[in-house]
Symmetry: C2
């Protein structure tokens, strides 16, 4: 399955902009206005929309409520999306307390950590990873965030996949072997900073 991740990312940001415009009482928008807000081109906007079968009207533009309905459908944001976090160190804890944008419908419901000192039932609940499978099936959780140290990342991901998690956002600086039925996308701060160093140096040489 091929997914255009860049287009999906833009779609997500179109959605945020459209919510803001709707709050301001705007009901219709042209692709060039939307493009301007996102520092892209009108043809890019139309291409992104057509990729997800969204049609506009040349003269009248897009009808914002219809557009938002379709975008909600794409991101399945009708119901709250429950997320768990594996690894309640600094990154995990920060994400557990992350204030999601109001239109997000994402709820981090629990954390898991092998450290008994981090386990607690009051406030934000943190459980022993041994309770993972039971918790995931009882609460129909599909999404997990992986924020454990590098050396245990694969084992922790395997446990999430085995427990029935369908999608994982991985923050450990390691390439995981993906299991069938459990998609993983990784973000590595170190790798991103290193790439940034390369780009900055390249730009300096080109000056």
């Amino acid at each position: 399955m091929k997914v255009n991740k860049k287009a999906l990312e833009r779609l997500f940001h179109y959605r945020n902009i459209l919510y803001r415009l709707q709050e301001d009482g705007v009901t219709r928008i042209y692709s060039d206005t939307l493009a301007e807000e996102l520092h892209t081109t009108a043809s890019q906007v139309r291409k992104d929309f057509s990729l997800f079968h969204i049609k506009g009207n040349k003269k009248a533009g897009y009808h914002i409520p219809d557009l938002l309905d379709r975008l909600e459908e794409i991101f399945d944001s009708g119901a709250a999306q429950k997320v768990i976090i594996m690894g309640m160190g600094r990154i995990g804890s920060a994400l557990a307390q992350y204030r999601w944008s109001s239109n997000q419908n994402l709820v981090v419901v629990a954390g898991f950590d092998i450290d008994p000192a981090k386990q607690q039932r009051t406030g934000f609940p943190v459980y022993d990873p041994q309770e993972l499978s039971r918790f995931v099936s009882q609460n129909s959780i599909e999404l997990g965030i992986l924020a454990v140290p590098e050396r245990v990342a694969q084992a922790a991901y395997d446990a999430l996949a085995k427990a029935g998690i369908r999608g994982v956002l991985n923050f450990a600086p390691v390439i995981l072997t993906e299991r069938p039925g459990c998609v993983v996308t990784s973000y590595c701060v170190e790798s991103e900073l290193s790439s940034l160093i390369y780009i900055v140096n390249k730009e300096k040489k080109e000056l």
Copy 2:
């Protein structure tokens, strides 16, 4: 300037794997061995390397110390890379304490926050943003991490660019207007989770 970011990301991970192999006493490696470690193909490895003018030897493979020298050059990791963090909320604080891999040579040297309660000079120093320009020029800082709330993200990025920062990693869920001379790459947890939801749902439908 066009940079193949996916190739750069793989290069970063090749580098980590090569360090590990070197520690184990390995001095030569073939593209297929490296490919296996990274769950990719040998032709992808060779393509990535040739993109950055790295040549191998069909019979003898790549010489690991030479390969690492070239990778260090690409990521400019001979000297320590100093990084500052703008916004010392939960995400900023977590990143300030992030334990980088030993081969990274990345050092987070200071944080900046408008909240006087967060400013401190002992332990990890956090300064008033008014001191940003002075600090950046005195310490020759080129990299910044942006971890401020959405509504002040553009202003904070503008301040970083004005202070002389050349590359910014942005965690605010907003598309920034880029200033000349200051590259920005953004990561949005919300957008990534939303994309993951789309991918998971699409896979379920395809089953």
